[in-house]
Amino acid sequence: MIAGMTPATGGEDTRSHLHLDRIAAHSNQDIANMINSALLEPMQDYTPLSCLPPLADDSEPLTVSPSEVCNSLSGAKSEEGRGT
């Protein structure tokens, strides 16, 4: 980095591609809020889940072993294979 310069941020890069009305008048924080509101706006017509089904009395709840967790954490492929 050159002394005295502020490193370029991802925010500036995103901002440069936004061709919206009066964009120059807004701070990066305003733009982040604007994007989040715009992304969430179409979802507001939907009713969120308000309650969960009753707690299930499963005889065998899912449990994972330390070796499975260790394999996942350390990046080794588990024998179960990947989900996606």
Binding site: T9, G10, G11, E12, T14, R15, H17, L18, H19, L20, N28, Q29, I31, A32, N33, M34, I35, N36, S37, A38, L39, L40, E41, P42, M43, Q44, Y46, T47, P48, L49, L52, P53, L55, A56, D57, D58, E60, P61, L62, T63, V64, S65, P66, E68, V69, C70, S72, L73, S74, G75, A76, K77, S78, E80, G81, R82, G83, T84
Partner: protein, 213 residues
Amino acid sequence: MELNPRKAGGPDGINNWLLRNYADFLTSPVCDILNASFAEQKLPRSWKDADVTPLMKVKPVTTIAKHIRPICLTPALSKLAEDFVVSKYIGPAVLESIDPNQFGAVPSSSTLHALISMMHTWAQATDGTSSAVRVVCLGYRKAFDLVDHGILAAKILGLRIPRGIARWVCDFLMDRRQRVKLSSDCFSEWGTVPSGVPQGTKLGPWAFHFNDQ
């Protein structure tokens, strides 16, 4: 599952490299946390928060909702838990009943297979028959974002999986929040997410599959 150590951490600030490099020390507490979550059939609150990286579909962006795809960065521990749930229960249950013409987001399959299948069908219809084929392509607007949670929960509860797992997946959908990450030090305020399956999670594509059935 493979944790990519170069990938940024989720909103909880726990990075993949930390989990990977200190796996020996963290295995036991992480194992306890995952098993507690499965036993309680719900996720810790912090696992439901997502940082959204705005991915531009076209440049320049003139309509945010249309031209930006929200990719969620969620906590690594949530992804670990989701991966176990998918590999042990959700994946097998969905693959048992999935339409054979579904190719995207299916293991060992890709959209290339969809193209080959279409070409095969068209060739069969036109080969030596002097027929022509008309193709109509349809796309869903905001297909991932506008999934109704009530309908999805009913389908999850109808899957052939233990009821406790179904409840865990329903809880995965509830009370989710997201904020936009514009840069490493610029975030929006949190907003609640009342619908959709989060893109970028392990469960997301699978939840989309069983909504599609």
